[in-house]
């Protein structure tokens, strides 16, 4: 993995602020679901906060994002207001998508979140299309496309990397390698040692980083963004990370060897990043203030989600086509 210098204070603080919002949101979602306050299928993101916080800190709000069902961290890091996002997760009419999409299908163009998909691998070809538009438009935007290690076994991954490379599209393929696809270990489903190797096989600029290290992840992200904006083409970033709470809430992670889980928990990126801030002479009080502010945001957002109404049933006839469907 790359040997990177520590990112500067402001950048790390920015990354921490995003990552902490993600971590606290994840905890709160699991609490509320556990308590029966929300009835949704939830894909926990605890453990992957730093990957997306650092990635999104390296792009602008109007850059595009395509992500997946396990997308809460990416969506928050990209800047979707918590209230809108929580309401959508809860299926409320005040949500980003009026309750029609739900957690697996978040869209929020104001913050560049263009697609969230539940079909493994299918976001990559769409990300190319967004990047193609930017290339034609010469608007200087990049598209970030998030997906997992398991997704690199599906055909769409291959087709998309090839097309992005021959057309030199400004797209960043961010593989968040948490070593498992559902209950299957990467080694049991994946023929190559690394995902990076697959990108190289396709002639795509490819890097492998410790995604749980904020500085290393941020440096890789920054470099990929500059490469893309310069018109040099796509980058595949294989960001090594881990998920601590299973594929979806309720999954006991029975398929993860105990020693592996233990080690992964020792490597938890959140306390490490927090300590890095302290080491950079950011005061405990300043950090606590960030955490408090995030907690308040989440408190307000979750309450908003609970208080909001469900959409009226007839809403299903709207937004199917550009005209309302007759009853």
């Amino acid at each position: 993995m790359a040997n990177t210098d520590m990112a500067d204070k402001d950048v790390l603080t920015d990354i921490f602020t995003r990552a902490d919002l993600i971590m606290q949101s994840d905890i709160k979602f699991r609490q509320m679901i556990g308590a029966g306050q929300l009835q949704i299928v939830y894909y926990p993101v605890r453990g992957q906060e730093v990957v997306s916080a650092a990635m999104m800190a390296a792009v602008n709000q109007d850059d595009y994002l395509v992500t997946i069902y396990r997308g809460l961290h990416d969506q928050l890091a990209k800047g979707i207001p918590s209230k809108d996002l929580w309401a959508e997760f809860a299926g409320k009419v005040t949500g980003t998508c009026k309750g029609k999409g739900g957690p697996m299908h978040i869209t929020h163009p104001e913050t560049g979140v263009m697609v969230t998909t539940g079909i493994v691998g299918s976001g990559l070809p769409i990300a190319n299309g967004l990047a193609l538009a930017s290339q034609l438009e010469k608007d200087g935007k990049v598209t970030v496309c998030c997906f997992g290690d398991g997704a690199t076994n599906i055909g769409a991954f291959h087709e998309a990397l090839n097309m992005a490379q021959i057309w030199k599209l400004p797209v960043i393929f961010l593989c968040q390698n948490n070593l498992y696809g559902e209950h299957t270990a990467m080694a049991e489903s994946t023929s190559s040692e690394t995902i990076k190797q697959r990108g190289e096989g396709l002639g795509v600029r490819s890097v492998r980083v410790n995604g749980n290290d904020a500085s290393e992840m941020y440096a890789a992200a920054k470099e990929a963004v500059e490469f893309a904006r310069a018109g040099s083409g796509p980058t595949l970033i294989e960001a090594m990370t881990f998920r601590y709470h299973g594929h979806l809430l309720g999954d006991t992670s029975h398929y993860i060897p105990e020693a592996e889980m233990e080690q992964a928990k020792k490597d938890d990126p959140m306390p490490i990043l927090r300590q890095q801030l302290l080491d950079l002479q950011i005061s405990e009080a300043d950090i606590a203030a960030i955490e408090k502010k995030n907690a308040d945001i989440i408190e307000e957002a979750s309450q908003f989600a609970l208080d909001s109404d469900y959409p009226p049933g007839e809403e299903y006839r709207i937004d199917v086509l550009d005209v309302e469907i007759a009853a």
């Binding site: 009835q39 949704i40 299928v41 299926g91 409320k92 009419v93 998508c97 309750g99 029609k100 999409g101 739900g102 957690p103 697996m104 299908h105 998909t117 539940g118 079909i119 493994v120 691998g121 299918s122 398991g150 997704a151 076994n153 599906i154 055909g155 769409a156 696809g181 559902e182 209950h183 299957t184 049991e188 489903s189 994946t190 029975h254 398929y255 469900y310 959409p311 009226p312 049933g313 007839e314 809403e315 299903y316 006839r317 199917v320 469907i325």
Partner: protein, 332 residues
């Protein structure tokens, strides 16, 4: 059945597991393929294949990468040379990435080879709204498959049928898509005897009636039972025909029922327009036009992707009251 008077009950998921178990015991050429289906990976996300890899080994029960084209392709290839693969496509929406293997190859190779080869595979897949999974995990796509010559399409409405039909599907010499209902996995019903069989292509009549025929399958059957109860309360005697095999379907049983009741509603969870109900309705009109009291009715879900929010999902989705309303409209 157990010894006491109350018949033993089992869940759908169990029935499917038993059918695969029996098929694997009966025929060493039966193999299973699919994401996370072996026990190390949990025996399937809905545990339908639990215990089978322990019993038959991971050579015959293979967890696969997330590669639906490769999964169906492996099933097609092994089926060509005598295997009877059962491939699980975790959710029906994911067949969209494997339609080429299914439609251009599994369904056509017998024909294009002039009958030299056959493709006796089974695709098991589950779907259905009501689970809050939203637009990409709930679609009923059986109409696509029924339109493909060479494919059989099957859906069961109770555990005993599921057992018999899945076993028959696995042993059938044609490619079969066996559609399961996600919210129905934990529904119970009378346990089948181990030697219980249900042939493909034969509908059942789980409720007899004289005034109107409700023709349905899969998740539609419970809705039709509920509707029939409500209709009975209003003095209408409804007969239910459970197709069990959607393609090729049992015209004889349907026509016999409708020739008797002289009225029919076709009911399914899939989007109504261009759904399978259209074909069944058309065929009834073509055969029994002058006997009918009124045009055959249809009930299906609305013209929209499956909505996430429970209020919209409910408004969009077919239900027993829709069946009652349609039946009453027809009976005037």
């Amino acid at each position: 059945m157990s010894d006491d008077n109350k018949p033993e009950e089992i869940m759908f998921a169990q029935a499917l597991n038993m059918a695969m178990n029996k098929a694997m015991a009966d025929d060493p050429k039966v193999i299973l393929l699919g994401e996370d289906i072996a026990d190390k990976q949990g025996g399937g996300v809905f545990k339908v294949t639990a215990g089978l890899s322990a019993q038959y080994g991971t050579e015959r029960v293979r967890s696969t990468p997330i590669s639906e084209q490769a999964i169906v392709g492996a099933a097609v290839g092994s089926a060509l040379v005598g295997y009877k693969p059962v491939a699980e496509i975790m959710l029906m929406n994911f067949i969209t990435v494997a339609m080429d293997q299914l439609v251009n190859h599994a369904a056509k190779l017998r024909f294009m080879s002039g009958g030299q080869t056959s493709v006796p595979l089974t695709i098991r897949t589950t779907t259905g709204a009501g689970t809050g999974l939203g637009g990409q995990h709930s679609d009923m796509l059986e109409a696509w498959l029924a339109h493909v010559p060479g494919l059989k399409v099957v859906a069961a409405s109770n555990p005993a049928d599921a057992y018999g039909l899945l076993y028959s599907s696995i042993m059938d010499d044609n490619p079969v898509v066996f559609i399961e209902n996600t919210p129905g996995y934990f529904v119970k019903g009378p346990a089948p005897a181990p030697d219980h069989t249900v042939p493909l292509g034969k509908a059942s009549v789980p409720r007899e009636g004289t005034d109107i025929s409700l023709i349905t399958y899969g998740s539609g059957v419970s809705r039709c039972h509920a509707a029939a109860e409500k209709l009975a309360a209003d003095g209408v005697s409804a007969e239910i025909v459970d197709l069990r095999t959607i393609a090729p379907w049992d015209e004889e049983t349907v026509f016999t029922s409708v020739a008797k009741t002289k009225a029919a509603v076709v009911v399914h969870e899939a989007v109504k327009s261009f759904g399978t109900g259209a074909e069944i309705s058309s065929r009834i009109h073509e055969e029994l036009f002058s006997d009918l009291k009124a045009a055959v009715g249809r009930v299906g879900s609305g013209y929209a992707p499956v909505p996430f929010s429970p209020t919209i999902e409910k408004a969009w989705m077919f239900n027993d009251d829709d069946v009652v309303r349609e039946a009453k409209k027809i009976l005037g």
